[in-house]
């Protein structure tokens, strides 16, 4: 993407609130390319690009309230490293990020007052995003924001939300804070909001594009994308990491790294025996990579086993070195040798069978022909005199 200086921007964007302004300095071509890219990420038709463009440049930007509970800001950090679009394009031009502890300009009472105002004005219209798990022990006193347990804040905000997204493993299924012994009785967002649909974007941190694509889907279609049983968008979490892993051929061929730094590890062999949880973890990590620096930039790509952050009961729960439960096919116990025979040639028995059948065929034909016309010939000829 081209670097756009401020003067360029001023020249290009005559009317910051108009069409050009909403493009944030992008050319029309760049913007449509981006929207089509998003459509492709979502597995939609390329024609959807124009619909996404229309939604992303709508006159009123949809308000987003972002609440942070027991979290490490890793999800936000991950989001800051998105480049198509950049986070500022998203929060300044596509959505109206009305409250986010780390990113909002205001602070203290000012920020809280603006949140309350936005939630009141946009009741039933805003998107609620939560990162971090919600402590429930002792009335939720272990995570207080603005003098109030986050549990109450989340429940209040959920009342008026049009859609809810839980970003990160903590918000999606509890994450690190919910691991044993779970001193704060941390729960996921959907557990503290019974009866409400919360779109889960698990990951520690999740790939920012899974989040951005989900938000743009919501804006375009006004409904969540197709979700799996754990309310994760299927476009991102529909397949096991194992299914699309670039090291999968090594798994199928039985080539495993056995310890860090050994020959197999240096050769980029499969990390299954080092405890890689790819075979039981649903995510699109091998397909889209992290940090926009090209493919291969994800844990398994750089030689570390997947630890299953998107999967409840795997990430932060199973020991790192424990073998994954392979949910697809297990590798065969024996592999073909490189000098496997390529055909066995003609065996005497087979030749005898073929010769026997051929002989039988010729004999049968001869027998059938024998005396065929003698008996029926004249009769057949009689019958065959033209009748038409």
């Amino acid at each position: 993407m081209n670097v756009v200086s401020d003067t360029d921007l001023d020249r290009a964007v005559q009317n910051p609130d108009g069409y050009e302004g909403s493009l944030g300095g992008l050319t029309r071509r760049q913007f449509l390319t981006y929207c089509t890219g998003v459509a492709a990420t979502l597995g939609l038709s390329s024609l959807m690009g124009s619909r996404i463009a229309a939604a992303a440049t709508a006159a009123t930007r949809p308000p987003v309230i972002w609440l942070s509970a027991q979290e490490c800001t890793g999800c936000t950090e991950s989001l800051l490293r998105a480049y198509h679009p950049t986070l500022e394009t998203l929060i300044l031009d596509m959505i109206s990020l009305d409250y986010h502890e780390a990113l909002c300009a205001g602070a203290g009472h000012q920020a809280e007052a603006y949140k309350a105002k936005s939630m009141k004005e946009n009741r039933g219209k805003y998107i609620l995003v939560v990162d971090g798990s919600i402590p429930t022990k002792d009335g939720g006193v272990y995570c207080m924001v603005a003098g109030k347990p986050i549990l109450e804040t989340v429940r209040e905000a959920a009342e008026g939300a049009a859609a809810m997204i839980a970003i990160g493993s903590c918000a999606s299924w509890g994450g690190i804070p919910s691991s044993d012994p779970n001193p704060t009785e941390a729960r996921s967002v959907h557990e503290v909001l019974p009866g409400k649909t919360v779109i889960n974007i698990p990951g520690c941190p999740p790939n920012p594009y899974n989040f951005l694509s989900t938000v743009l889907y919501l804006l375009t279609f006004g409904k969540p994308p197709a979700l799996d049983v754990q309310n994760r968008p299927k476009f991102a979490y529909g397949r096991l990491i194992h299914e699309n892993c670039e090291r999968r051929p090594h798994f199928d061929a039985g080539r495993f790294a056995l310890e860090y730094g050994d020959f197999g590890h240096r050769q980029g062999w499969c990390l299954y025996k080092l405890g890689c949880k790819g075979p039981e973890t649903h995510a699109n990590c091998p397909a889209i990579g992290f940090g926009d620096v090209g493919e291969g930039n994800w844990p398994v790509g750089i030689g570390h086993p997947c630890f299953g952050c998107t999967e409840q009961g795997v990430g932060f729960t199973k020991p790192l070195h424990a073998l994954a439960k392979v949910k697809t096919f297990t590798p065969p116990t024996a592999f073909p040798t490189v000098n496997a025979p390529k055909g066995k040639g003609v065996s005497p028995a087979a030749a005898a069978v073929v010769a026997g059948v051929a002989g039988l065929g010729v004999g049968a034909v001869a027998m059938a022909l024998h005396g065929m016309d003698k008996k029926d010939g004249p009769a057949a000829s009689d019958h065959d005199t033209p009748q038409q």
Binding site: A368, D376, A380
Partner: protein
């Protein structure tokens, strides 16, 4: 034409030929058991280079072409309304019933993971762009249709008391009334999968010699299936006529001859014309394995063509030879394009093992045994001299 004109042949079922065929069936059963107990490698020479072996080529690709008698006759009798051929309909249909049913059986033996086969019927696993998927579904549907088409033969044979008890008269009336639907399907479905058997080869690319590999493969397969269908009707009727002394149908065949001759001429013209158009005529006369096979095929197709357009067609002997030559040509065409002219490269070779061949032979024996059993016990063959209505 009254339906009572069809009558069972009667006579002993367990005869000497029946027992000899039964012996081969037992041998095949032994090897089939071994295949299911110890796997394909135990009985078959198929490999990663030649995943398609004699089971598929002989029992399915050639076997269903032999089973096309029902298709070819239905096309002639019902679609082109040539009712004079009606006496040939049921025997042809019976050949189709067994040709296809046993092709299905052979596929189940050939499938590595046969227990997954039911997934074909689950729409959410369907891959509608796959030719093999189309063949599988279409053949399954056609087997069902063939049995329904043949069902009246069973109904006619059932004792009236039995029919009354299970209210089968109603079924018989229903079948009689709506048979045209199944006849229509019975003509439609083979055009789909017989052409698809040719389309399957389109992925062979350079593995198949240009003598066989052409974009016209689907049409060539359909035409050869039709021609073989008529060929098998001629052969069957002649053999049955000889063996059981039923009235001769040679007069019928003399008229059918023009249809078959036209088909054969079209087939040969398309094949040679396409070859010349693509500039590969030289390969046919190269004198090598492929070229010679191609020439043998052509000769085998030319023999019936010349017999059928000459005055010799009135001779039962020449008709029989023409049918044999036609079937041999069609079978060789299929055998060549699926196996003998296929070069997967990388050093792969294939010749079927004896057990593999015995299974195929056993399936064919079973087919003949069932055919004998059915024509003796069910109203299949036409018993009356007078065939005109």
């Amino acid at each position: 034409m009254s339906e009572t004109a069809h009558r069972p042949l009667g006579g002993k079922v367990v005869t000497k030929p029946f027992l000899i065929l039964g012996f081969f069936l037992l041998v095949a059963a032994y090897y089939i058991l071994r295949r299911f107990l110890f796997g394909m490698g135990d009985v078959s020479n198929m490999s990663n280079g030649y995943p398609i072996g004699t089971w598929v080529v002989l029992d399915v690709v050639i076997g269903t072409a032999f089973g096309c008698g029902g298709f070819a006759m239905a096309l002639l009798v019902y679609i082109f309304n040539r009712n004079v051929y009606h006496p040939l309909m049921r025997p042809a249909l019976l050949g189709g019933v067994f040709g296809y049913t046993l092709a299905g059986l052979a596929v189940m033996i050939d499938l590595g993971r046969y227990w997954n086969a039911f997934n074909l019927l689950l729409p959410w696993y369907a891959q509608p762009n796959s030719v093999i998927f189309e063949v599988a579904l279409c053949v399954m549907a056609y087997i069902t249709v063939l049995w329904i088409e043949f069902w009246p033969a069973f109904l006619e044979r059932m004792p009236p008391a039995f029919k009354k008890r299970f209210n089968l008269d109603k079924l018989q009336a229903f079948l009689k009334r709506y048979m045209y639907v199944f006849v229509g399907l019975g003509v439609l479905l083979p055009t789909m999968h017989q052409s698809s058997l040719g389309s399957v080869l389109l992925i062979m690319g350079s593995k198949l010699s240009p003598l066989w590999y052409t974009i016209w493969l689907p049409l060539l397969y359909l035409m050869s299936a039709l021609a073989m269908g008529y060929g098998v009707v001629m052969l069957e009727a002649t053999l049955v006529n000889r063996a059981f002394k039923t009235p001769s149908e040679a007069r019928l065949f003399a008229r059918l001859a023009w249809v078959v001759a036209g088909l054969l001429a079209g087939f040969l013209l398309l094949r040679w014309g396409d070859l010349a158009y693509r500039g590969y005529l030289g390969l046919a006369f190269a004198g090598d394995w492929d070229g010679n096979l191609f020439l043998i095929e052509t000769v085998l197709f030319l023999v019936p063509l010349f017999v059928l357009v000459s005055h010799r067609r009135v001779s039962q002997r020449w008709q029989f030879l023409a049918a044999i030559s036609l079937l041999a040509g069609g079978s060789l065409y299929r055998l060549n394009s699926y196996l003998m002219a296929v070069r997967p490269g990388n050093g792969w070779t294939y010749f079927p093992s004896a057990p593999e061949l015995m299974i195929t032979i056993g399936v064919v024996c079973l087919e003949i045994m069932l055919y004998l059993l059915f024509i003796k016990t069910l109203p299949v063959l036409h018993g009356a001299h007078q065939v005109q209505p």
